[in-house]
Symmetry: C2
Subunit: 144 residues, 2 copies
Protein backbone atom coordinates (compact mmCIF):
# COMPACT_ATOMS: atom_id res chain seq x y z
CA UNK A 1 0.00 0.00 0.00
CA UNK A 2 2.48 2.61 1.21
CA UNK A 3 6.25 2.44 0.90
CA UNK A 4 8.35 1.71 3.96
CA UNK A 5 9.54 5.31 3.90
CA UNK A 6 5.96 6.44 4.07
CA UNK A 7 5.12 4.13 6.96
CA UNK A 8 8.13 5.41 8.88
CA UNK A 9 7.22 8.98 8.04
CA UNK A 10 3.71 8.60 9.41
CA UNK A 11 4.94 6.95 12.56
CA UNK A 12 7.68 9.54 13.05
CA UNK A 13 5.24 12.40 12.58
CA UNK A 14 2.89 10.94 15.17
CA UNK A 15 5.78 10.28 17.53
CA UNK A 16 7.17 13.78 17.27
CA UNK A 17 3.71 15.26 17.70
CA UNK A 18 3.32 13.37 20.95
CA UNK A 19 6.76 13.60 22.43
CA UNK A 20 7.96 17.06 21.62
CA UNK A 21 7.19 20.75 21.49
CA UNK A 22 9.00 23.95 20.54
CA UNK A 23 10.85 23.93 23.84
CA UNK A 24 11.40 20.23 24.02
CA UNK A 25 12.79 19.11 20.71
CA UNK A 26 13.49 15.52 20.00
CA UNK A 27 16.47 13.92 18.28
CA UNK A 28 16.72 11.39 15.49
CA UNK A 29 17.91 8.68 17.87
CA UNK A 30 14.86 9.00 20.06
CA UNK A 31 12.54 9.04 17.09
CA UNK A 32 14.20 5.97 15.65
CA UNK A 33 13.86 4.12 18.93
CA UNK A 34 10.33 5.28 19.54
CA UNK A 35 9.16 4.05 16.16
CA UNK A 36 11.46 1.06 15.74
CA UNK A 37 12.88 2.52 12.58
CA UNK A 38 16.49 2.34 11.34
CA UNK A 39 18.14 5.49 12.59
CA UNK A 40 19.95 6.70 9.48
CA UNK A 41 17.07 5.82 7.27
CA UNK A 42 14.53 7.75 9.28
CA UNK A 43 16.99 10.63 9.50
CA UNK A 44 16.79 10.89 5.72
CA UNK A 45 13.04 10.79 5.82
CA UNK A 46 12.83 13.45 8.52
CA UNK A 47 15.20 15.61 6.52
CA UNK A 48 12.87 15.39 3.56
CA UNK A 49 9.82 16.11 5.69
CA UNK A 50 11.69 19.12 7.04
CA UNK A 51 12.51 20.38 3.57
CA UNK A 52 8.85 20.14 2.73
CA UNK A 53 7.93 21.97 5.94
CA UNK A 54 5.86 19.19 7.41
CA UNK A 55 8.07 19.26 10.46
CA UNK A 56 10.42 21.77 12.12
CA UNK A 57 14.04 21.19 12.97
CA UNK A 58 17.02 22.96 14.47
CA UNK A 59 20.61 21.85 14.66
CA UNK A 60 23.00 22.03 17.55
CA UNK A 61 22.70 21.18 21.20
CA UNK A 62 19.10 20.92 22.35
CA UNK A 63 18.22 20.89 18.71
CA UNK A 64 16.03 18.29 17.11
CA UNK A 65 12.61 17.96 15.59
CA UNK A 66 9.31 19.40 16.72
CA UNK A 67 6.01 20.58 15.37
CA UNK A 68 4.30 23.91 15.32
CA UNK A 69 0.55 24.41 15.32
CA UNK A 70 0.40 24.29 11.55
CA UNK A 71 2.35 21.05 11.41
CA UNK A 72 -0.15 19.43 13.73
CA UNK A 73 -2.78 20.01 11.07
CA UNK A 74 -0.81 17.91 8.59
CA UNK A 75 -2.97 15.09 7.27
CA UNK A 76 -1.84 11.54 6.62
CA UNK A 77 -2.46 12.37 2.99
CA UNK A 78 0.10 15.17 3.13
CA UNK A 79 2.68 12.71 4.42
CA UNK A 80 1.78 10.13 1.81
CA UNK A 81 2.12 12.70 -0.95
CA UNK A 82 5.43 13.94 0.45
CA UNK A 83 6.94 10.46 0.52
CA UNK A 84 5.19 8.39 -2.15
CA UNK A 85 3.91 11.08 -4.49
CA UNK A 86 0.50 11.30 -6.13
CA UNK A 87 0.34 7.62 -7.06
CA UNK A 88 -2.46 6.73 -4.70
CA UNK A 89 -4.58 9.50 -6.21
CA UNK A 90 -3.90 8.90 -9.84
CA UNK A 91 -2.63 5.39 -10.53
CA UNK A 92 -4.72 2.60 -11.99
CA UNK A 93 -4.79 -0.53 -9.78
CA UNK A 94 -3.72 -2.61 -12.74
CA UNK A 95 -0.99 -0.17 -13.67
CA UNK A 96 -2.65 0.89 -16.92
CA UNK A 97 -1.34 4.26 -17.98
CA UNK A 98 -4.41 5.00 -20.03
CA UNK A 99 -7.03 3.91 -17.54
CA UNK A 100 -9.70 6.57 -17.07
CA UNK A 101 -13.43 7.09 -16.86
CA UNK A 102 -13.63 6.96 -20.62
CA UNK A 103 -11.21 4.09 -21.01
CA UNK A 104 -11.69 2.10 -17.81
CA UNK A 105 -9.72 -0.99 -16.87
CA UNK A 106 -11.70 -4.05 -15.86
CA UNK A 107 -11.71 -3.14 -12.18
CA UNK A 108 -12.01 0.61 -12.60
CA UNK A 109 -15.56 1.10 -11.36
CA UNK A 110 -15.15 -1.20 -8.40
CA UNK A 111 -11.90 0.35 -7.36
CA UNK A 112 -13.17 3.91 -7.71
CA UNK A 113 -15.28 3.59 -4.60
CA UNK A 114 -12.51 2.01 -2.55
CA UNK A 115 -10.07 4.66 -3.69
CA UNK A 116 -12.40 7.45 -2.66
CA UNK A 117 -12.82 6.00 0.81
CA UNK A 118 -9.10 5.50 1.12
CA UNK A 119 -8.44 9.09 0.14
CA UNK A 120 -11.11 10.39 2.45
CA UNK A 121 -9.53 8.47 5.30
CA UNK A 122 -6.06 9.86 4.81
CA UNK A 123 -7.31 13.37 4.09
CA UNK A 124 -9.52 13.74 7.11
CA UNK A 125 -7.15 12.47 9.77
CA UNK A 126 -4.59 14.98 10.96
CA UNK A 127 -1.52 14.27 13.01
CA UNK A 128 -3.07 16.36 15.76
CA UNK A 129 -6.08 14.03 15.83
CA UNK A 130 -3.84 11.05 16.43
CA UNK A 131 -1.98 12.91 19.12
CA UNK A 132 -5.24 13.26 21.00
CA UNK A 133 -6.22 9.66 20.39
CA UNK A 134 -2.88 8.38 21.58
CA UNK A 135 -3.04 10.62 24.62
CA UNK A 136 -6.24 8.81 25.49
CA UNK A 137 -4.44 5.50 25.17
CA UNK A 138 -6.62 4.39 22.31
CA UNK A 139 -3.92 3.12 20.09
CA UNK A 140 -0.29 2.23 20.06
CA UNK A 141 2.66 3.08 17.96
CA UNK A 142 5.58 0.84 18.65
CA UNK A 143 6.39 -2.26 16.78
CA UNK A 144 7.87 -4.83 19.13
Amino acid sequence: MFSKSCEYAIKAMIYVARESSEDHKIGVKDIAKGTNAPEHFIAKILQELGRKRLIQSTKGPNGGFYMDEKNLKTSIADIVRATDGEGIYVDCVLGLKTCSEKNPCPVHEEYKEIKQKLIRMIEKNSIGDFKKKLDLGLSFLKNK
Copy 2:
Protein backbone atom coordinates in the same frame (compact mmCIF):
# COMPACT_ATOMS: atom_id res chain seq x y z
CA MET B 1 -1.11 -1.50 -3.87
CA PHE B 2 -0.25 -4.64 -5.82
CA SER B 3 3.17 -5.64 -7.10
CA LYS B 4 3.95 -5.40 -10.80
CA SER B 5 3.90 -9.19 -10.98
CA CYS B 6 0.41 -9.16 -9.58
CA GLU B 7 -0.79 -6.52 -12.03
CA TYR B 8 0.61 -8.53 -14.91
CA ALA B 9 -0.91 -11.71 -13.51
CA ILE B 10 -4.38 -10.19 -13.33
CA LYS B 11 -4.11 -8.79 -16.83
CA ALA B 12 -2.75 -12.04 -18.21
CA MET B 13 -5.52 -14.05 -16.60
CA ILE B 14 -8.17 -11.78 -18.06
CA TYR B 15 -6.48 -11.87 -21.45
CA VAL B 16 -6.24 -15.63 -21.53
CA ALA B 17 -9.84 -15.95 -20.38
CA ARG B 18 -10.96 -13.83 -23.29
CA GLU B 19 -8.69 -14.99 -26.07
CA SER B 20 -8.39 -18.70 -25.58
CA SER B 21 -10.13 -21.96 -24.88
CA GLU B 22 -9.19 -25.62 -24.54
CA ASP B 23 -8.99 -25.96 -28.29
CA HIS B 24 -7.43 -22.58 -28.95
CA LYS B 25 -4.51 -22.19 -26.60
CA ILE B 26 -2.49 -19.05 -26.54
CA GLY B 27 1.27 -18.56 -26.32
CA VAL B 28 3.40 -16.42 -24.07
CA LYS B 29 4.27 -14.06 -26.90
CA ASP B 30 0.64 -13.27 -27.59
CA ILE B 31 -0.13 -12.80 -23.93
CA ALA B 32 2.84 -10.49 -23.53
CA LYS B 33 1.75 -8.40 -26.50
CA GLY B 34 -1.89 -8.38 -25.49
CA THR B 35 -1.11 -7.09 -22.05
CA ASN B 36 1.97 -4.98 -22.81
CA ALA B 37 4.05 -7.02 -20.43
CA PRO B 38 7.72 -8.04 -20.80
CA GLU B 39 7.65 -11.46 -22.42
CA HIS B 40 10.11 -13.36 -20.25
CA PHE B 41 8.81 -11.78 -17.12
CA ILE B 42 5.21 -12.71 -17.77
CA ALA B 43 6.36 -16.18 -18.78
CA LYS B 44 7.65 -16.60 -15.25
CA ILE B 45 4.44 -15.35 -13.78
CA LEU B 46 2.33 -17.65 -15.96
CA GLN B 47 4.53 -20.54 -14.95
CA GLU B 48 3.82 -19.81 -11.31
CA LEU B 49 0.11 -19.42 -11.95
CA GLY B 50 0.25 -22.75 -13.73
CA ARG B 51 1.99 -24.44 -10.82
CA LYS B 52 -0.73 -23.13 -8.58
CA ARG B 53 -3.40 -24.39 -10.98
CA LEU B 54 -4.92 -21.01 -11.67
CA ILE B 55 -4.30 -21.56 -15.34
CA GLN B 56 -3.76 -24.56 -17.63
CA SER B 57 -0.84 -25.07 -19.96
CA THR B 58 0.48 -27.58 -22.44
CA LYS B 59 3.81 -27.68 -24.21
CA GLY B 60 4.58 -28.40 -27.83
CA PRO B 61 3.02 -27.32 -31.10
CA ASN B 62 -0.44 -25.81 -30.64
CA GLY B 63 0.36 -25.71 -26.98
CA GLY B 64 0.03 -22.69 -24.77
CA PHE B 65 -2.16 -21.39 -21.99
CA TYR B 66 -5.89 -21.67 -21.54
CA MET B 67 -8.52 -21.86 -18.86
CA ASP B 68 -10.96 -24.50 -17.85
CA GLU B 69 -14.34 -23.83 -16.27
CA LYS B 70 -12.86 -23.95 -12.79
CA ASN B 71 -10.14 -21.46 -13.71
CA LEU B 72 -12.77 -19.00 -14.88
CA LYS B 73 -14.09 -18.92 -11.35
CA THR B 74 -10.73 -17.69 -10.06
CA SER B 75 -11.17 -14.45 -8.16
CA ILE B 76 -8.87 -11.47 -8.30
CA ALA B 77 -8.15 -12.31 -4.68
CA ASP B 78 -6.85 -15.74 -5.69
CA ILE B 79 -4.43 -14.09 -8.09
CA VAL B 80 -3.33 -11.54 -5.53
CA ARG B 81 -2.67 -14.26 -2.99
CA ALA B 82 -0.79 -16.36 -5.55
CA THR B 83 1.52 -13.49 -6.47
CA ASP B 84 1.75 -11.17 -3.46
CA GLY B 85 0.81 -13.50 -0.62
CA GLU B 86 -1.51 -12.79 2.28
CA GLY B 87 -0.17 -9.31 2.94
CA ILE B 88 -3.29 -7.47 1.92
CA TYR B 89 -5.30 -9.57 4.35
CA VAL B 90 -3.02 -9.44 7.32
CA ASP B 91 -0.62 -6.52 7.19
CA CYS B 92 -1.00 -3.33 9.17
CA VAL B 93 -1.03 -0.19 6.98
CA LEU B 94 1.73 1.27 9.08
CA GLY B 95 3.74 -1.92 8.94
CA LEU B 96 3.34 -2.65 12.64
CA LYS B 97 3.90 -6.33 13.29
CA THR B 98 1.90 -6.26 16.47
CA CYS B 99 -1.06 -4.25 15.24
CA SER B 100 -4.34 -5.95 16.12
CA GLU B 101 -7.78 -5.30 17.52
CA LYS B 102 -6.32 -5.37 21.01
CA ASN B 103 -3.23 -3.40 20.14
CA PRO B 104 -4.38 -1.15 17.30
CA CYS B 105 -2.17 1.26 15.42
CA PRO B 106 -3.39 4.85 15.13
CA VAL B 107 -5.22 4.23 11.89
CA HIS B 108 -6.41 0.72 12.65
CA GLU B 109 -10.12 1.39 13.02
CA GLU B 110 -10.31 3.64 10.02
CA TYR B 111 -8.40 1.27 7.83
CA LYS B 112 -10.39 -1.75 8.91
CA GLU B 113 -13.42 -0.61 6.96
CA ILE B 114 -11.40 0.19 3.86
CA LYS B 115 -9.63 -3.13 4.04
CA GLN B 116 -12.89 -5.03 4.25
CA LYS B 117 -14.24 -3.29 1.18
CA LEU B 118 -11.04 -3.90 -0.67
CA ILE B 119 -11.12 -7.58 0.16
CA ARG B 120 -14.77 -7.86 -0.72
CA MET B 121 -14.01 -6.31 -4.10
CA ILE B 122 -11.23 -8.70 -5.00
CA GLU B 123 -13.07 -11.72 -3.60
CA LYS B 124 -16.32 -11.21 -5.39
CA ASN B 125 -15.02 -10.54 -8.88
CA SER B 126 -14.07 -13.61 -10.85
CA ILE B 127 -12.07 -13.73 -14.04
CA GLY B 128 -15.19 -15.06 -15.73
CA ASP B 129 -17.08 -11.91 -14.71
CA PHE B 130 -14.51 -9.73 -16.38
CA LYS B 131 -14.58 -11.85 -19.47
CA LYS B 132 -18.26 -11.07 -19.80
CA LYS B 133 -17.78 -7.40 -19.11
CA LEU B 134 -15.04 -7.12 -21.66
CA ASP B 135 -17.12 -9.03 -24.18
CA LEU B 136 -19.70 -6.31 -23.75
CA GLY B 137 -17.05 -3.71 -24.44
CA LEU B 138 -17.38 -2.18 -21.01
CA SER B 139 -13.74 -1.97 -20.20
CA PHE B 140 -10.33 -2.20 -21.73
CA LEU B 141 -7.15 -4.03 -21.04
CA LYS B 142 -4.24 -2.73 -23.03
CA ASN B 143 -1.81 -0.17 -21.86
CA LYS B 144 -0.69 1.95 -24.81
